[in-house]
Symmetry: C2
């Protein structure tokens, strides 16, 4: 369905209304939303503002026929996931979107998915830009963290535990089924398809981990590849028990090779990988119980052995896995590779 809606009507109809409710609820310190040159944010002097920006491109981050409601959810979720990884509480977001045409049904569904998630986290749309062009969604999200409490990638210490939330590999399994790399029953696909299409940003977890995790990030490009960023920033190595990676019941029905590859290197799960001192274990298990979210200790941070941080993969007995088993796993997703 095409329409002759102008840009300003479009913003008004699909994007402005959803946000005004939240802005006027005064949940945060936004003093001016859509309708001026800039949004205005009055920060609380005791907070640091966390800022993250993600761009989603058709055929790269989602299929052209993706359900627009899922897409609206996911475009915001991947940004909230970055906020979660630093322990930030969402404040609001800006949306810049290029649309090939003004398709009212598509916009209706997209904004429903977007604002349902935004509402869940009291995270209003503060401003943005709409233009014609190949479909591209760019969200910049803002969060607040008490001063000095941000969980950075650079804080991991030797002998810290390495943890991961939820389970990993399901989003990659859905992708494999959609790409016909393997066959998944409709029941299995239904059970896990939300893991790829409607990821859950671990906002509560991030906030609980303030002062407990020494480093954290969200897993968008695959657990091992992303863990490397913590190792690089913290100047440490890691040992990971391959068999400890938490997997869903659905993934466990796949071959061992697929289980390992997808759990270790599959992208798009948006779980949190974090490190913490071993004396924090009980507190972390309490957080897990409180949030009804599995948290699994998968390995240990080690002192750096050479100039390049290294991940040693271990079998269940703590013995290093052979290179032939490891090699196919270590190619992590890279947008330009």
């Amino acid at each position: 369905m095409k329409s002759e809606l102008g840009e300003f009507e479009l913003i008004q109809r699909f994007f402005k209304t959803g946000s005004e409710t939240m802005l006027s609820s005064g949940a945060h310190s936004i003093s001016l939303g859509i309708g001026d040159d800039c949004a205005l944010l009055k920060p609380n002097p005791a907070e640091t503002i966390a800022i993250t920006s993600d761009m989603l491109v058709e055929d790269r981050h989602f299929f052209a026929n993706t359900n627009p409601e899922w897409l609206g959810h996911k475009a915001l979720a991947v940004n909230l996931s970055d906020l979660a990884a630093m322990g930030a509480k969402p404040i609001g977001f800006t949306l810049a979107i290029a649309l090939p045409q003004t398709d009212l049904a598509w916009l209706e569904a997209f904004s429903k998915g977007l604002f349902t998630l935004a509402q869940e986290h009291s995270c209003p749309l503060m401003g943005g830009d709409t233009t014609a062009g190949p479909l591209n969604i760019c969200i910049t999200a803002f969060g607040s963290i008490p001063q000095g409490k941000a969980i950075k990638r650079s804080g991991a210490h030797p002998e810290d535990d390495v943890w991961v939330s939820g389970s990993v590999g399901d989003a990659r399994l859905v992708l494999a089924a959609l790409r016909h790399e393997l066959i998944l029953s409709q029941k299995d696909l239904n059970a896990i398809s939300a893991r790829m299409h409607k990821p859950t940003p671990r906002i509560q977890l991030g906030m609980e981990l303030r002062g407990i995790a020494t480093a954290a990030l969200d897993i968008s490009d695959g657990l091992l590849g992303d863990l490397k960023h913590i190792l690089i920033q913290s100047k440490v190595d890691a040992e990971i028990f391959l068999n400890r990676l938490p997997k869903s019941v659905t993934l466990i029905h796949q071959s061992e090779a697929i289980q390992n590859e997808f759990a270790a290197c599959g992208g798009d799960d948006y779980e949190i990988c974090f490190t913490a001192a071993p004396d924090q274990r009980n507190i972390i298990y309490d957080i897990s119980k409180k949030l009804h979210l599995p948290l699994t200790q998968i390995g240990t941070i080690k002192p750096m052995q050479s100039s390049k941080p290294k991940i040693k993969l271990l079998d269940q007995n703590g013995k290093a896995l052979s290179d032939s088993k490891v090699a196919p796993l270590l190619k992590s997703f890279d947008h330009f590779a």
Copy 2:
């Protein structure tokens, strides 16, 4: 030239280095830049943060063969222009960019244009995202304004003067020449081509106008169309002297019809249109002198006569122009029209 650079190398090589100098200069309160899940901004308790986001799409906002150095400049300039319109001082920006390929020469030039302007305004790159996809540049820029000093669109009062900075219509004239709608000598084109390709964000002007302008915005879609946004937000009408619109020597050599149309409705000039009480005139002329920037009083704000804000165009004697003269001018640029 194609390359196999990965995403992280790309950020490192073209975007990270340029920013670290600025971040470490401590010009602003950015405590963590590129290399983590989020950038961290420690705000000053006496400031409000202004946030703006603009997306530039190939063939929509720039030609496919645009000089990438100009493009890097312009992508940031249009965002700084939004900060200027509210009286904000730049703090930093995030860049999300989709690239069809990794073209090193293109990236080199793009980042040169981008960082030259960023440096001029002590406005470092704080973070962002790079991905493969049809060329799309999305910048979100941040500025600071002393609490309560933001110049909003909603503050214009009846009998305020309407002002515009610099001159208007040149960017549209360059576009017309590039589209072969008219012929411009190479000398004329050289004289004004920067007005379209390398617009100057009026940052200093915006900061000087704090507490003086009652309303302001930047002119991206055409003077009259953009002025309407002030009228809508302020619930007022305006009278504008068509002959007073400030034009460059180059534009003045065109026919009267083109002069009027381009000055009144041409987009992309990124001048500031603002309103101020008549008793501020001398102060405004002093600002003009100080900044070596013409500031022209082009009309007056009037009480709103009907439910829809209206602009009355006047001839040099203050007489309303006939509808037949006005009608072709009032179609302002709209991205989805």
